[in-house]
């Protein structure tokens, strides 16, 4: 086994991990700040891909779609939070879980009705197609773009939550909503925003994944699984955890593929089992968030 081969294998896993991070980050955000387990995350992922195709069909421009999709899916998220999720706050963690679970089936069938059961192709823009030499071998430009975009999104998200006063309110609201309310801040609006951002990120991830795997109604199901596993490994609600766990799962999958390719997708579940046994709150999770 040449070092170049191992490096390329590692980089492939890293790139896959970056895509996984993108899948999981919206879910982790909504859970960490709202304690809502959003089972419709995968469906929003699919909705994002389909809206991407729709906008692309109208405009013929990938970049316009890239801007509109997170806004549109985020908008759907706002409506869902305001109308469906909000009445369930304070009723226990399983109420929003069951609601979003049902919602995911509604969205799936809506997609089938609107766009058919068949699935549609979706290509990366010409500017991002093709492979470039990265020193250890050729690598698709589009995947490099995804790594860069994911990194930029994470930095933006971190700056927003950790460095702005709005972010301060969000963090305070996650810790003690009562006090924040007493201080005269409309906490309901903050939660609305966070849910919108979380679903917007799911939609964006769906559209970005579309050129890799095509677009089909059930595409959200495996995406939701991956997002959940990563959130559990990283620690429920931890953004840093989601990033570390996403990359870890990508690398594990890549290296399993060398020795036992048929079990490559199993590797993430093995990691999840180990983490749950040895550190049930996840690698970076706060204990007792679910209590």
């Amino acid at each position: 086994m040449s070092p170049n081969f191992l490096l390329l294998q590692a980089f492939t896993g890293f790139a896959l991990g970056a895509i996984y991070v993108l899948l999981a980050v919206g879910l982790a955000l909504v859970f960490g700040l709202l304690t809502v387990i959003n089972f419709a995350h995968g469906a929003m992922f699919a909705v994002g891909a389909y809206i991407g195709i729709f906008v692309f069909g109208l405009t013929g421009n990938f970049w316009i779609s890239l801007v509109i999709v997170p806004l549109a899916v985020g908008g759907i998220g706002l409506v869902v939070e305001r109308v469906l999720v909000r009445p369930l706050y304070g009723r226990g963690i399983d109420y929003p879980l069951l609601l979003t679970f049902g919602l995911s089936y509604v969205l799936l069938d809506l997609i089938r009705i609107l766009w058919g059961k068949q699935g549609l192709p979706f290509d990366a823009p010409d500017a991002l197609s093709g492979a470039v030499d990265i020193g250890i071998g050729y690598f698709p430009l589009y995947r490099l773009f995804l790594i860069a975009l994911t990194a930029a999104l994470l930095v933006g998200l971190w700056l927003f939550i950790d460095k702005t006063s709005y972010g301060l309110v969000i963090r305070a609201g996650a810790r003690d909503p009562e006090i924040v309310r007493v201080l005269g801040i409309d906490i309901a609006r903050v939660w609305l925003m966070v849910f919108g951002i979380g679903t917007g990120l799911a939609g964006l991830a769906g559209m970005l994944a579309a050129p890799l795997q095509g677009v089909f109604p059930e595409m959200g199901t495996p995406a939701l699984m991956v997002a959940f596993v990563i959130t559990v490994i990283g620690g429920m609600g931890s953004l840093v955890g989601a990033v570390v766990a996403g990359l870890l799962v990508g690398l594990a999958e890549s290296f399993t593929a060398i020795f036992a390719p048929q079990f490559s997708q199993l590797s993430m579940y093995v990691i999840m089992v180990l983490v749950l046994l040895l550190r049930p709150q996840g690698l970076f999770g706060r204990a007792g968030l679910l209590g």
Binding site: M1, S2, F5, L8, Q9, T12, G13, A15, L16, I19, R112, K117, Q118, G119, L120, P121, D123, A124, S129, G130, A131, G137, Y138, F139, P140, Y142, R143, L212, Q213, G214, F216, E218, M219, P222, E253, S254, A257, I258, P261, Q262, F263, S264, Q265, L266
Partner: protein, 423 residues
């Protein structure tokens, strides 16, 4: 897509009321002598020939399944337009198997028990067709499978009620190997979905490859349902094969080729696909398929050589705004055609007579003469080798392949009856 029914189905609505009247008449002593005779004629005219058609309309093979159903309907329409059989019209009952063995078995059972179908045609997936076959053989209902499988024609899955219209992995792999290995090289890596269809293809390559000097560098088994194949590529590249043979089907095939092209693998080795799909090529565009070689049961340009292909294409074009039929669509047409022509030959839908007729039948639905081999009911037919055209050489959007070779219909390309466990 909802279930498709021909207008003939409305005939059945008349059934109960007519039967009621007959029942009342039979009760009258004066009508005693005449009624049984009259009853039979009335029943025969009303009785449609029902063909159950379970296919996975939902899921990754949905595009191919939809084509199967659409083309099977053409065969039914043509049969009815020609007057049916003794006034009996045919009806196609399409059901969604969702690519799930349990779902397929349940739908098939319903077709038999509730809808009282005369026979079952359909299925798409090496695994799911076995579930359908299990139901039909225990119910002693004739089943024509239109999806690739080696297992279904071999013991213990085979039964005398089982017919296999599709190519099987052994003959497909054989045809591809005979073309690819001498031309592109013998050092091969396989990328194979980890289930029956994939395993059967690789078995086929290994069986035929012995004589051709096949060197299998690796067989990379991808998990079913995988959407990202990138993690397998560094290993494939490091082995430096002359040919990468992709055994994935349906949407997975397109995803694989898309990712193969984006990683530049197609610049480093020849790419062959065991079952090269017309529908996926249309969906994927010429760039990622360019130069890819593969096996197929059908490509519409066969009409340049075969007159039944011309007829089938014309019938499809008329219903689909000039579009050309697909390979799996052709299976749907051929399987249904085989049964309907068999019914004419058998003089009815009696299953035993139909089996005898199909075993004797020489039929030419779309690609030249085929027949079911007696021992295993496999349709003996040609395999086409296709090469995807570059965009510059396409004369229209449907002109996507060249037929570069035709492996002729010959029993020597099948596994022997003894190998399959038939005595």
């Amino acid at each position: 897509m909802k279930t498709q029914r021909t207008k003939i189905g409305s005939n059945r609505l008349a059934g109960p009321s007519r039967r009621k009247i007959l029942g009342a008449a039979a009760a009258g002593a004066a009508a005693m002598a005449a009624s049984p005779f009259w009853f039979n004629i009335a029943r025969a005219a009303a009785e449609t020939i029902k063909i159950g058609f379970p296919v996975p309309l939902t899921g990754p093979y949905g595009a191919e399944a939809k084509q199967q159903a659409a083309c099977a309907q053409i065969a039914v329409d043509e049969f009815n337009a020609a007057g049916g059989f003794n006034g009996r019209m045919a009806e196609l009952l399409v059901r969604d198997s969702k690519l799930n063995a349990g779902e397929a078995a349940t739908r098939t059972l319903e077709l038999i028990e509730k809808d009282k179908v005369d026979c079952v045609v359909g299925s798409l997936s090496a695994a799911v067709q076995l579930a359908v076959n299990n139901v039909t053989k225990t119910r002693k209902v004739l089943y024509v499978s239109i999806s690739q499988s080696d297992q279904i024609t071999a013991m213990p899955d085979y039964s005398r009620y089982t017919f296999h219209e599709a190519l099987n992995p052994h003959m497909t792999a054989g045809a591809v190997a005979r073309y690819v290995l001498p031309k592109f090289g013998k050092k091969v890596v396989f990328l194979t979905p980890d289930y029956a269809f994939g395993h059967e293809l690789v078995n086929g390559y290994q069986a035929v490859g012995k004589e051709l000097g096949l060197q299998m560098l690796d067989n990379v088994l991808a998990p079913i349902g995988a959407t990202d194949f990138s993690t397998f590529f560094p290993r494939i590249q490091s082995l430096h094969p002359e040919v990468l043979i992709v055994n994935n089907f349906g949407r997975d095939q397109l995803n694989t080729l898309k990712q193969v092209a984006s990683f530049g693998l197609n610049k480093q080795m020849h790419i062959a696909v065991s079952v090269l799909l017309y529908g996926q090529r249309l969906a994927g565009g010429p760039e990622i398929f360019e130069g890819v070689v593969g096996g197929s049961n059908y490509y519409w340009r066969l009409e340049d050589k075969v007159s039944s292909a011309k007829h089938f294409n014309a019938a499809y074009r008329k219903r689909n705004n000039g579009a050309e039929p697909s390979d799996y669509g052709a299976y749907g047409y051929a399987g249904t055609y085989a049964v309907l022509s068999g019914i004419k030959k058998a003089g009815g839908t009696d299953t035993e007579k139909l089996i005898a007729a199909l075993e004797e039948n020489r039929y030419d639905p779309y690609k030249g003469t085929e027949y079911f081999r007696k021992c295993d009911h496999q349709a003996v037919q040609s395999v086409l080798i296709l090469e995807a055209k570059p965009k510059a050489k396409m004369s229209n959007q449907y002109d996507v392949f060249d037929i570069v070779e035709i492996d002729p219909a010959d029993e020597k390309n099948l596994r022997s009856c003894a190998e399959e466990g038939h005595v």
